[in-house]
Amino acid sequence: MNDVFAPPQDQSGLTPAEGVLAPLSALRVGDRGVIVDVGAEARAGDHGVGVEELQRRLLEFGFVEGAHVEVLHEGAIRRDPIAVKLDDMRVALRRRDALDVLVLLDRP
């Protein structure tokens, strides 16, 4: 029952070939998985602080490789921002800032 709080041990049972990889920015309510990469690619979107700084802020908030994420809520306009359960925390962020967080989705 406490799998939400457990360290990412179930990660070993999955290989990328089995799951679907998607950026956190593209996930919908109910989607969940494990973060496999937090990049600093110069993707579309002006973050005001530069991608490297954005990456560090994401990491500091706990968006690290191995962390569990689940999208809990979406905003009313263009489904933005999103509220996610990140391990045992709840965090809100905009989709544009979540482009570089790559998630390996759990299979339904």
Binding site: V4, F5, F61, A76, I77, A92
Partner: protein, 623 residues
């Protein structure tokens, strides 16, 4: 022989936001606290004192909450510099107290690892320990203390539990003295942050057993409060209630304060002979003090709402719901509370911008807040609309007067949105800060803390904003009183004063917007507060009856002014910075004269432009 006095020690409280740090600060220092600003920045500096049983005085600094020493905002920069002992005008702390929410340790563990690098003596206060116990969360305190290399105290700040133990531990560390080579720290790069997280994860797994009864309440409440439809409906209902509170409930106590001030003025008026002293005391000092105190009910009601919403954990949810809606105009999601309150009065609204962390977002909100139609504009609007707009209905059901009133409100809102867009695009060059925000678990606000924080806000307003508002009000009195009219003068006294001279002098400048000299003269005392312009117009037109309905004055104005002038005056009042108190509070909140001056200039320019266009168009149409 005097007893040896223990040297005092400086203690700094550090921790994540929402860790109950301020509650712990209150529990530690009680009423022995002082609020000021750090030198040169707008960040609030909260310091308190506590005396240990051994007789050592601890001065405790409540540093702004942060997730990392890598500061992302001016507040967090203060925390970093204070911890490192590099803050201008501050001595470095002897002991750090890291405050952690015992139920939410993951991120604070990483912060602790960072603080360890700095090398100052540190105590970890595991706060909200009662909630952790209720959830069945088990923490191996001895193991964790050994692993982290710092003593741990469990606390429940709201019940004052563990406070004596915390003070004892701090005292012990203070006695031991500072470690060598303190204050060394380098900003971690991405891989170091990852490494620290892995380390924190390992520590968490080793010493903390997950809760047997995790908090499900927050999830259930969020399902409603963050719902795209219900969530917004509840938010708007709350905002409506808050607006009602600030607008309506504050009325009776504010009236009472005004009556008390008028009564006091009357008493002094009877006791003293007519003359300068009486005029100074009644029209200068008492009305000046009154102009500060009259805002207090609004500020208390607004901050009661804000503090309750913040302590409950709702503020972050509200920002989530409003982010996209406000973001369209380049405003932060949290800007809605200050802007909404500004409909009642810009003073509490501008003070409420403290809920916005980001400096630029906060400045933008401060700059546009006075464009919201505040209640002090209503007497002016009512007077002019009553005099110039016929009381007819359009389309069979809409009152034309009501429609014009609505239009004035709408003009203020549209103006605020456009100005914030321009500020965003031109001054901040489109830079949008990332929006990353923890949604804390819901908690019942603690009554004692709410009262203490409310008292603090009232104190800050009366002492600090009052220090600026009061002299400005007195300055306006001086301008409208001196010099005296010559003996046997026929016109109203104000006409011969500096305000009168100034009004005559700038009148040519305001002629293109249709203002006559009587209006420009009335604008100067009207700078003390917008509604004063009604009384001032009454004075220059020597109309005795300037009651709240102002029916006589309205017809006098309608007789003297063209319709174009009346409309132009309305347009002027939508945008003009006719309020010394607003300027004063902006000065206090931004800690510099730069932003009040920027506000004064842009609002005056906007007001002139709006009045000019209104006057010229109305004239062209035959008004």
């Amino acid at each position: 022989m005097s007893e040896a006095v223990l040297p005092p020690a400086r203690v700094a409280l550090v921790g994540n936001p929402n860790s109950g740090k301020t509650a712990l600060f209150n529990a530690l220092t009680g009423s022995r606290q002082k609020v000021a600003n750090y030198a040169g920045v707008t960040v609030e500096r909260k310091e308190g004192h506590v005396t240990t049983p051994e007789g050592r005085t601890l001065s405790v600094l409540d540093l702004p909450g942060t997730y990392s020493l890598r500061a992302r905002s001016p507040d967090e920069a203060v925390t970093r510099d204070a911890v490192l002992g590099k803050l201008a005008g501050e001595q470095s702390p002897d002991v750090l107290v890291c405050v952690a929410d015992a139920t939410n340790l993951r991120l604070v563990l990483r912060l602790i690892l960072e603080l360890k690098q700095v090398g100052r003596p540190m105590v970890l206060a595991l706060n909200m320990y009662d909630i952790a116990q209720r959830q069945g969360l088990r923490i191996d305190l001895d193991g964790l203390a050994r692993e982290l290399g710092c003593p741990i105290v469990t606390t429940v700040a709201t019940r004052k539990r563990g406070i004596a133990e915390l003070v004892a531990k701090v005292d012990e560390l203070a006695r031991a003295g500072a470690l060598a080579a303190a204050g060394v720290w380098a900003a971690p790069d991405a891989s170091q942050i990852r490494h620290a997280h892995r380390e924190a994860q390992r520590i968490l797994k080793t010493y903390v057993r997950p809760p047997e009864r995790p908090d499900t309440f927050t999830g259930k409440v969020d399902a409603v409060l963050l719902h795209p439809v219900w969530g917004l409906a509840i938010l708007f209902a709350l905002l409506f209630l808050m607006f009602q509170g600030v607008f309506t409930w504050a009325g009776p106590p504010a009236d009472l304060i005004e009556q008390a001030m008028t009564g006091l003025g009357g008493l002094i008026g009877q006791a003293l002979p007519d003359g300068l002293l009486k005029s100074f005391l009644v029209d200068g000092v008492i009305s000046g003090v009154g102009s500060v105190l009259v805002f207090l009910p609004q500020i208390l009601i607004l901050f009661l709402f804000i503090i309750l919403l913040e302590d409950f954990g709702y503020m972050a949810r509200a920002a989530f719901l409003m982010d996209r809606i406000m973001g369209g105009a380049g405003l932060h999601g949290r800007a809605f509370i200050p802007l909404l309150s500004s409909f009642a009065c810009a003073i509490p609204g501008i003070m409420a911008t403290r809920v916005i962390d980001n400096k630029r977002d906060r400045l933008t909100t401060i700059l546009v807040a006075p464009l919201m139609t505040c209640s002090a504009r209503i007497p002016v609007y009512t007077l002019i609309i009553g005099g110039f707009i016929p009381n007819t209905t359009v389309w069979g059901f809409l009152s034309l007067q009501g429609l014009v009133m609505f239009g004035l409100y709408a003009a203020g809102i549209v103006g605020a949105l456009l100005v914030s867009l321009v500020i965003r695009k031109i001054f901040w060059r489109g830079a949008v800060e990332p929006f990353l925000m923890e949604l804390p678990a819901y908690k019942t606000p603690d009554a004692a803390n709410v009262v203490r924080n409310l008292y603090l806000r009232a104190q800050i307003f009366v002492s600090r904003a009052g220090r600026i508002i009061f002299p400005l009000t007195v300055a306006v009195w001086v301008l409208s009183t001196f010099p005296y009219p010559p003996p046997g003068a026929s016109g109203p006294a104000i006409d011969y004063s500096f305000a009168g001279m100034l009004g005559h002098a700038v009148q040519p400048l305001l002629a293109p917007i249709g203002f006559n000299w009587q209006m420009t003269v009335a604008l100067i005392p009207g700078f003390a507060a917008r509604e004063v312009a009604v009384a001032a117009l009454g004075a220059v037109y020597a109309v005795a009856d300037t009651g709240t309905d102002g029916a006589t004055l309205a017809s006098t104005l309608a007789h003297h002014w063209s319709l174009a002038t009346g409309l132009s005056f309305l347009a002027w009042y939508v945008f003009a910075p006719q309020c010394a108190s607003t300027i004063g509070v902006v000065r206090r909140e931004t800690n510099s004269w730069r932003w009040p001056v920027v506000m004064l200039v842009y609002m005056t320019a906007l007001a002139y432009l709006a009045a000019f266009v209104t006057y010229q168009v109305a004239r062209a149409l035959g008004g």
